[in-house]
């Protein structure tokens, strides 16, 4: 009887607590231009794909974290300061039962809509404001003895431009435009080979960095056009229409150029027209494409033949 009792105790399953934190947010990005005194409303839909949890919702300002479109939260929310942001005057929730900051239990599989109203005061100056609508899952877990409690957060970005007229006049300049280094160049350690010499057998990518020199965000619209030695257009590579925030830089993305055995001198022209403007900025570069890898193989082959013949003559 005692043995059976002990066996039952050992086999009794322990309750598994909070095995997964998983949140999904829609939309991940909201871009809006708004007049002072006006308001807009946007629904954000948060789904809990993990275990039952408690959601803390708040607005946190952010700034560009790098030149790739990633954000750096201005003030990482702590337990105390999470809900104290400078945005409180602009943002409110239209949900009847929720106010910002919001704390709401969310069961596994449940979706919660947050109806966010953005109202800009009459006196607000024309400016850009960037916020993250941050949702943190405070899932209850068990820590026995020493350990770390981990929290999962997800954020939707809000790009808010306050403008009296809606007519934005962003300005920009191209900070960097060059072909990306080919693999071959990267592999030739210790050798200095200019970026302007590319290999015929590698896809050709371009590095294009745009600096927003104005105080309003812009969306970069444009393309890279490539012409060959005979000035014939051989490729048009559209740029992805990414946002470049005020006074920041961003690398723009285009598809790689995959020509069939290019050789010779090429010219690439990057042309960008910030959205809703007519001002066009462009930059031109020249580069050479040669079959380095093939030449290298041929040189090695010839060297070996010469060496073999030389040895035979001896």
């Amino acid at each position: 009887m005692v043995i059976i009792f002990i066996t039952v105790i050992l086999k009794a399953p322990t309750k598994v607590q909070a095995q997964t934190i998983s949140l999904s947010i829609w939309p991940p990005l909201l871009e809006t231009v708004i007049q002072p005194g006006k308001a807009v409303t946007q629904v954000f839909r948060l789904k809990n794909l993990g275990d039952d949890t408690v959601i803390h919702a708040s607005l946190v300002p952010f700034e560009p974290g790098d030149a790739f479109g990633h954000i750096r939260l201005g003030s990482e929310p702590s337990e105390v300061s999470r809900f104290v942001t400078s945005a409180s005057a602009y943002f409110s929730l239209q949900n009847a039962d929720l106010d910002l900051p919001a704390i709401i239990p969310l069961k596994s599989g449940q979706t919660q809509e947050f109806v966010l109203k953005i109202k800009v005061p009459e006196t607000a100056a024309e400016a850009d404001h960037y916020f993250a609508f941050l949702f943190s899952a405070d899932t209850q877990g068990l820590i026995s003895a020493s350990g770390t409690k981990t929290l999962g957060s997800i954020a939707a970005n809000i790009l808010l431009t306050v403008s009296q007229t809606g007519e934005l006049h962003p300005t920009a300049k191209i900070e960097e435009f060059r072909p990306a280094r080919s693999n071959l160049v990267g592999n030739l350690r210790g050798w200095t080979l200019s970026d302007s010499f590319l290999d015929s057998f590698s896809p050709i990518n371009f590095i294009l960095k745009l600096k927003n020199t104005s105080s309003v965000r812009l969306k970069a619209i444009g393309q890279i056009e490539v012409t060959n030695t005979f000035n014939r257009l051989v490729a048009t590579l559209p740029l992805r229409e990414d946002n470049v925030l005020a006074h920041s830089s961003r690398y723009l993305t285009s598809n790689p150029w995959n020509p069939l055995f290019p050789i010779g001198r090429y010219t690439a022209i990057a042309t960008i027209t910030p959205q809703n403007t007519t001002s066009q900025i462009s930059q031109t570069i020249h580069f050479y494409v040669l079959p380095y890898q093939a030449l290298l193989v041929i040189i090695i082959f010839l060297t070996m033949i010469i060496k073999i013949k030389h040895n035979r003559l001896k």
Binding site: S24, G65, H70, I154, N157, N243
Partner: protein, 465 residues
């Protein structure tokens, strides 16, 4: 005798007056299957287009096609007048009378009334079973043609177009008991031996056909009609195809058997769906004994806790969690991490386990190897399963002060020290369940005061802007 002659005469007259009916029959199991039953598009430009625009507005009156109902993204359209028309690609359907093209409208193609044409060519697969066995005969298919300009490559509103430039052709049936088949012929409406009103396709054979079995006749690349006069979107326009079994050459290929069948052409249904961009972030446990960052997990983690438990002095204890991000936002995502403070005794701040310095140079921004357990503290490393980009990994042999590739690590940035959350991994494009292991390592020294030490780490996933 007179009576007999009179009777014979009457019988003969009656025989001539009421001749015996010919035994013509219908072919059976007849069908004409089109490879596409989409109507062709034949419209014209509305007013107000300038060279270079990509938003095209079509005229809503006076042409067979007066709405964008039968245009689709990716369609090739010919826009312009007869001399300068150029081909364009449909980028998107904007509304019922507007669509966008992928490039700007050419300077010669922007006049009001210029044609907008998208042809749909179809293969007709005509199948039938003959009703008769006929020696050295032929089969003929008649497909309705337009009244005017029915072989110019431009769709007609009242029949099929026989485009001479795209190589209309026919393929004769095979088998069927005949000795041999001659090459099938294709003749445009009004051509030699083909009466206007139908395009003619004929296959002659030698020998006698079986009056059973299925014969299949292929007709290639006829251009489907544009909407008929009075067409209602969604309602099919029907046309009658005739299949004939002909006698031999001596009978001048007279029609012996004949059957008609209806075919229908209609707008395709445009199915549209919008996939909303989302981002999903998941934190999951890693079990004891699992290997992550080149170290075996000493204790199971959960999604919410990294329970180191009771620590042995000057001994590493390793745990891990799995972080997963999915997003269909085109700009990608980024994941950052920050701790509230160092591991504090009973959650406090005064007595704490310091964040590690690795082998001497580790900070929250600079990674360093961490091999020596007597270098006490708390830190982390990363293992990239399939994320697009990661800031550093446990196996790095360069970057920061890492050289060995065994456990290259950092300490967490801390809110209490006014440090900024550090990026862990990211992508600049869509991501499908990209996984990274976050590996925690703790070592405590002999002078560490006894007690439970805790802190919080917050992982944040955000889409790019």
């Amino acid at each position: 005798m007179k009576k007999f002659i009179a009777s014979l005469t009457i019988a003969s007259l009656l025989a001539f007056t009421f001749p015996h009916q010919l035994t013509s029959a219908n072919l059976t199991a007849v069908a004409d299957t089109l490879s596409t039953s989409r109507l062709s598009f034949y419209g014209s430009l509305g007013v107000g287009h300038t060279a270079g625009v990509s938003l095209i507005k079509i005229s809503t009156t006076g042409m067979p096609s007066t709405s964008t109902a039968n245009l689709f993204t990716g369609d090739t359209v010919l826009i312009g007048d007869a001399y300068t028309a150029s081909t364009y690609t449909v980028d998107n359907i904007y509304d019922t009378d507007e669509f966008t093209i992928t490039s700007g409208l050419g300077s010669g193609d922007n006049d009001s009334g210029d044609l907008v044409i998208a042809t749909r060519s179809a293969t007709h697969t005509v199948t039938f079973t003959p009703a008769s066995s006929i020696a050295n005969g032929a089969f003929r298919i008649l497909i309705p043609s337009g009244t005017n300009g029915n072989s110019d490559g431009i769709p007609n509103h009242d029949g099929f177009d026989y485009s001479t430039s795209v190589g209309v052709g026919a393929t004769a049936p095979t088998g069927g008991g005949v000795t041999s088949w001659e090459s099938a012929t294709a003749t445009a409406s009004g051509g030699t031996g083909c009466t206007a009103g139908n395009h003619c396709f004929e296959a002659r054979y030698n020998g006698t056909n079986n009056a059973s079995g299925t014969f299949t006749f292929y007709i290639n690349r006829l251009i489907n009609p544009a909407p008929a006069t009075g067409h209602t979107a969604g309602s099919a326009d029907t046309y009658t195809v005739t299949i004939q079994h002909l006698g031999d050459r001596l009978s001048n290929y007279a029609v012996i058997d004949s059957t008609t069948v209806k075919i229908a052409v209609v707008e395709s249904v445009r199915v549209t769906a919008t996939v909303d961009p989302t981002i999903t972030f998941t934190l999951a446990a890693v079990g004891v004994g699992s290997t992550a960052c080149g170290a075996t997990a000493d204790v199971s983690s959960t999604a919410t806790a990294v329970p180191f438990g009771t620590m042995a002095l000057n001994t590493f204890k390793n745990l891990a969690q799995k972080l997963t991000v999915s997003t269909n936002a085109v700009g990608g995502y980024s994941v950052t991490a920050i701790e509230n403070d160092q591991l504090g005794k009973d959650g406090g701040t005064t007595t704490f386990i310091a964040d590690a310095s690795g082998d001497g140079a580790m900070t929250h921004e600079t990674q360093d190897d961490w091999h020596t357990a007597t270098q006490n503290g708390f830190g982390y490393s990363l293992q990239n399963a399939d994320a697009a980009a990661i800031v550093f990994q446990y196996s790095d042999t360069s970057g920061g002060s890492c050289t060995t590739g065994t456990f290259c690590a950092k300490r967490f940035a801390a809110t209490a020290d006014a440090e900024t959350a550090q990026s862990l991994f990211s992508s600049t494009t869509v991501a499908d369940a990209e996984d990274v292991y976050s590996c925690y390592r703790l070592s405590v020294g002999a002078t560490q005061a006894a007690g439970d030490y805790e802190n919080n780490i917050t992982y944040t996933a955000t889409a790019t802007f």
